[in-house]
């Protein structure tokens, strides 16, 4: 199922399909959050801030940015 990162529920795994095309894309790639990578939603904070988990890395992403990240759900 294809959706955007802001809609992913807590605990679910997904593949990152598309990142927004700007400077933030490169910052995300540096963290290993690149297109084709698998990650999971560790937590969702009230208001939509997403805590993304990839291996031991935990990254907080603002909800506006999460809306622009397209993902495909796993499991």
């Amino acid at each position: 199922m294809k959706t955007t990162l802001d809609k992913v529920e807590k605990g679910k795994k997904f593949i990152i399909e598309q990142l927004p095309n700007d400077d933030y894309k490169l910052q995300l790639i540096r963290f290993g959050i690149a297109e084709g990578e698998r990650a999971s939603c560790l937590d969702k904070i009230l208001g939509g801030t997403i805590i993304l988990k990839k291996n031991r890395l935990e990254i907080a992403l603002g909800s506006e940015l999460a809306k622009k990240i397209k993902v495909t759900m796993l499991n």
Partner: protein
């Protein structure tokens, strides 16, 4: 040992060793070990952009801000990039627990054609997490030496010298090498050539005259490098068995609103008791009044008054600081020439609660040592009020940072701050603002864009009352009753939302989204926390002291020339007609510029109705910041923006105060 803060142009015969690493990898501890002095260890990305260097044997060692990659996305990266470009040897400090994140930077440094050694730090944590890292294999794959350390425990640091000596060019990526060949005739420095291909704006600008057709391959390079990181990780790291760790649980609890908000309240309560009560009230009362005014200022003034015509006004107070009696002692030829009068004065103040005001007949002496004396008042204010307060605030901040809580707090607050046109990181300057707006204004540097810095600065200058002011406001409001508190708080909150919404609309551009690495939570290392507090406090005092002196000098000059009086007179119609307050309150407003608490404190002595108190407090909260924070604002935001914000506070404060006054009265 010799340290410098700015110059990177050290002598040519010395090799420049640059420490590079992601934020929070223990880089500064390693720098510390090499230099024999402590600098800064931090969890929160980007708390300082200043560069520190030191001498280690024949090497000139540079510390750099924590970065995730070499580019120009923010000031820290720009600073780090400049130092790396000029460095001969790079010690790349890596958090072994976060190889996947950190190796991106390592590979980029190798691709830049720099001589590198990798310091694999936090190996103790790796063992705790039951992770296995094959550092020999890592060394083979990277083509450079890898040294295991646990900087906090001091393990492996004896190999640092060898790491510097054995630094070498690593295995460059073939794909990137091919791309580099495209520009190698035009750009001879490999590091710059790489940054050029990676779309670094500053480097591209530097070579724009060469008219090299720019093919946008930065993303391609980044993804390629990312894939290499993955390949390396697969070969050197074996899968761990996480979960069950107390701190990762705590970290998650801090983020979950159900547990996170109670945790936040608990922390805020603790901070309130530490800073708001213990330091701001009890300690500052002792340092400011007993030591600052009672001991030091009194003795300096007495010394000055020895041979100079002086009048001492004594206000006798009871235990609740109510005025009982006023008396003045005149020394026409100075204290030393009128023993009798001085004895009488001493007997009068003996063992009593008094306020003393030395008035010097000579305007120059009055300027330096009088009531608003550039020397006397600034000294007490800076060292006996601000210093304990700023220290306490920085200490609390360092505790929160070193525990890994601060980034989580930023994540928790992100949504609310997005609505104000900021992102979660802005919570730091705003919290600091409740301590000292001047300190907080300096901290806005850590925000991502100029737009965010302007919004945060404006909010600080408009609506955030500093602790000095807050204390007076609390006393006056609690005396005025619950209705007054309600009107005050709701007005200020409305203004906060209104101001930020307007700014969000009128300032062009967009605020940066939150992309924040959440480090593992842990117990703060107290020694680190204390040293960090010391360095930040020292840095603040160094930066703010001249501005405070300048500020008082300006006010002192206005005072002695009588311009202050004229200004107060000009303001009087505004306060009486628009705000419907007694005309003496104009003095309170103007004095608020010297120190914000002076302004609010002036209201104590006036006989005001409940609504008048609310109007006066709202106006004084919104009104002009103290002169030191005004000067810092000018320095940080530039003259134009600074003056716009300053003028804005005048207009805003009196408009809102006026509206409120006419609604209420």
């Amino acid at each position: 040992m010799h340290t410098t803060s700015q110059s990177i142009n050290s002598k040519i015969d010395f090799k420049k060793v640059v420490l590079v690493g992601n934020p929070n990898v223990g880089k500064s501890l390693i720098f510390n070990h090499l230099s024999g002095m402590y600098v800064e260890v931090s969890n929160f990305p980007g708390t300082t952009v200043s560069v520190t260097s030191a001498w280690y044997k024949n090497y000139n060692v540079f510390d750099t801000p924590g970065i995730y990659g070499v580019s120009s996305f923010n000031d820290e990266e720009k600073v780090a990039k400049e130092i790396i470009l000029q460095g001969d040897i790079i010690l790349c400090v890596v958090n072994a627990l976060n190889l996947e994140r950190d190796l991106f930077l390592t590979l980029q440094l190798i691709d830049m054609g720099k001589r590198v050694s990798v310091i694999l730090n936090m190996m103790d944590e790796v063992r705790k997490h039951k992770l296995i890292i094959n550092s020999k294999r890592l060394s083979e794959l990277l083509g450079v030496e890898v040294y295991e350390t646990s900087a906090l425990k001091g393990e492996g640091l004896e190999n640092l010298e060898e790491a510097i000596k054995k630094a070498r060019y690593g295995k460059e990526d073939k794909f990137i090498k091919e791309k580099l060949n495209l520009v190698k005739n035009e750009i001879t420095d490999q590091a710059e050539a790489l940054l050029f291909l990676e779309g670094d704006r500053e480097v591209q600008k530097k070579f724009s005259h060469l008219k090299i057709p720019i093919e946008d391959i930065r993303e391609e390079i980044y993804i390629h490098r990312r894939n290499r990181v993955k390949e390396i990780i697969d070969q050197v790291e074996s899968i761990d068995t996480p979960s069950g760790l107390f701190f990762s649980k705590l970290g998650r609890m801090a983020l979950n609103p159900w547990t996170g908000i109670p945790i936040l309240f608990l922390i805020l309560t603790l901070i309130y008791f530490l800073i708001g009560d213990l330091v701001a009230q009890r300690l500052v009362d002792f340092t400011e009044n007993t030591i600052g005014k009672g001991l030091i200022e009194y003795n300096i003034k007495k010394l000055v008054a020895l041979e100079i015509p002086t009048e001492i006004n004594v206000t006798l107070l009871d235990d609740e600081d109510n005025v009982i009696e006023n008396k003045s002692f005149v020394f026409e030829k100075g204290i030393s020439n009128d023993e009798k009068e001085f004895q009488e004065f001493k007997n009068f103040i003996k063992d009593k609660n008094t306020e003393l005001n030395f008035i010097f007949k000579n305007p120059i002496v009055e300027f330096f040592f009088g009531e608003f004396g550039v020397i006397t008042m600034t000294m007490t204010y800076l060292f006996f009020l601000l210093l304990p307060l700023v220290t306490a605030f920085y200490f609390a901040l360092a505790l929160l940072e070193d525990s890994g809580y601060l980034p989580r707090l930023a994540a928790l607050a992100d949504r609310s701050f997005t609505k104000l046109g900021l992102n979660g990181k802005a919570i730091i300057p705003i919290i600091l603002g409740f301590g000292c707006v001047t300190m907080a204004t300096i901290t806005t540097r850590m925000l991502g864009t100029e737009r965010e810095r302007t919004i945060a600065t404006t909010l600080l200058q408009f609506v955030i009352p500093c602790s000095a002011q807050l204390a007076v406001i609390t006393v006056l409001l609690s005396a005025a009753g619950p209705q007054a508190i309600l009107i005050y708080v709701s007005t200020i909150l409305t203004i906060l939302i209104l101001t930020s919404t307007i700014l969000d609309k009128i300032i062009p551009g967009q605020s940066s989204p939150l992309i924040l690495d959440l480090p593992l939570m842990s117990f703060p290392h107290l020694k680190n926390t204390i040293r960090k507090t010391y360095y930040r406090t020292f840095g603040f005092m160094k930066e703010a002291t001249p501005l405070f002196f300048l500020g008082t000098a300006i006010v002192g000059l206005l005072h002695t020339t009588g311009l202050l009086r004229i200004w107060i007179n000009l303001l009087e119609p505004l306060t009486t007609k628009v705000l419907q307050l007694p005309k003496e309150s104009a003095i309170a407003f103007i004095m608020g510029m010297v120190r914000r608490d002076f302004g609010a404190a002036g209201l104590f002595t006036m006989d005001l109705s409940t609504y008048q108190i609310v109007v006066a407090l709202v106006t004084i909260t919104l009104f002009v910041p103290c002169i030191a924070s005004f000067l810092v604002m000018i320095k940080e935001r530039g003259i134009k923006n600074g003056l716009i914000i300053w003028a804005g506070t005048w207009i805003f404060a009196f408009t809102i105060g006026g509206i409120l006054s006419h609604i209420l009265m």
